[in-house]
Amino acid sequence: MADVKINNTRIAGIAACVPENVDHIADYTLISESERAGFMKTVGVHERRMVSKGVVTSDLCAQAAVHLMKKLEWDPSTINALVFVTQTSDYVIPSTSIILQHRLGLPESCMAFDMNLGCSGYVVGLQVASSLINPTGIRRVIFLAGDVSSINMSYHDKSTYPLFGDAGSATAIEYCENAPEAIFSTGSDGKQFDALYVKAGGTRHMATAESFEYKEYPGGIKRNDTQMILDGLRVFNFSITNVPPQIENILQLASASVETTDMFFLHQANRIMVETIRKKLRIEPEKCPYSIDLFGNTSSASIPITMCHSIGTNKIQPSINVVLSGFGIGLSWASAWISLKNALILPIVEYHE
């Protein structure tokens, strides 16, 4: 695994934004009442937020970024780089981050680029954004992460439709001499790319009229080739096999342990997957908060959503050390051990046009 230590940077703040519209799993009548009850208990999603037509990921992330910069009293002119992790960009080209440079009022001298990652994207993006920091050049970075996964789902696919929620996040990172060291570890397994993917719409399988035709699959599932395919058991086995040793590795590199780490923010893939990882690592339940019950699997936003949901406040954090871990689509996995000392982790806000 690629292990990296980053010094002299700190997270100044984190904000998250969700759509106002609440969608209840109890209303998903494609599956029986007992299946819905089993899904809510085991997968853990009771409700999630879904965007109204026309609202996209960059809208949610932009609102989170504006809210965060205002609370931190960061003038947009002081931002040197913008990194946007998403799989639901505004356009095929160019990078949405460049459009956001203008929208957020960041200077034209600002570096801006997108990263196409999902479940692991918050941690990988945080590593990349942090590694840009330089005392004489890029001193402040706004790192956005989120997805409107609802646009990629077939209502007639019970393996994906009730699982995902829409959300955006913004994280402010800055140069800080003598900041506690941050440690990152990442992994990639491209041989399993088809365990979770959208087939058509890229250049290998360009979208045609046929791509939008619905086909039937076992279990009464119907979807077209522009919609997400999920092999749940493969992703489950991948995650429970690879994530615990990576987190143990991160703890070892940090000379820390489960006992000395204050909190674990794990990607909200599904409740039983996270519970399996938590039990294998013997993490106490109170150290491992959830957001999946109210927001679903929010892709790369799920770690900041969980942080803002569980410890969000308008006051700066005390000195707490946390583990972050994202795992899934790619297949890809990444974990980090970071300090949130003096970070402003804000409560979740709702999106308003």
């Binding site: 007992s34 089993g38 058991l233 429970i240 399996t276």
Partner: protein, 81 residues
């Protein structure tokens, strides 16, 4: 630790709310006995991974019909390290 099918059955009965304690036998066909869904498969995979350190595959599941079949696969995987 000695592997006992009675322990495996107890663990299964404690994981599934809709299973009456004492109703599961080695010869029980789990797909018929439980309200079997892909979500319940995750519950089974999770319990086996946490309790036995074994990762079952979709193929393991496909070739199993009874609780004894699952237990045999777990035993074999543990024996093979």
């Amino acid at each position: 630790m000695e592997l006992l099918i009675s322990d495996f059955i107890s663990r299964i009965e404690s994981e599934f709310d809709d299973v009456v304690p004492g109703s599961v036998k080695p010869e029980t066909k789990f797909r018929d006995h439980f309200d079997w869904t892909s979500v319940n498969a995750l519950v089974l995979f999770s319990m086996i991974n946490v309790e036995y350190g074994i990762t079952l595959t979709a193929e393991d599941l496909q070739k199993s019909a009874t609780i004894q079949d699952l237990f045999n696969i777990i035993s074999l995987k543990i024996a093979n390290g």
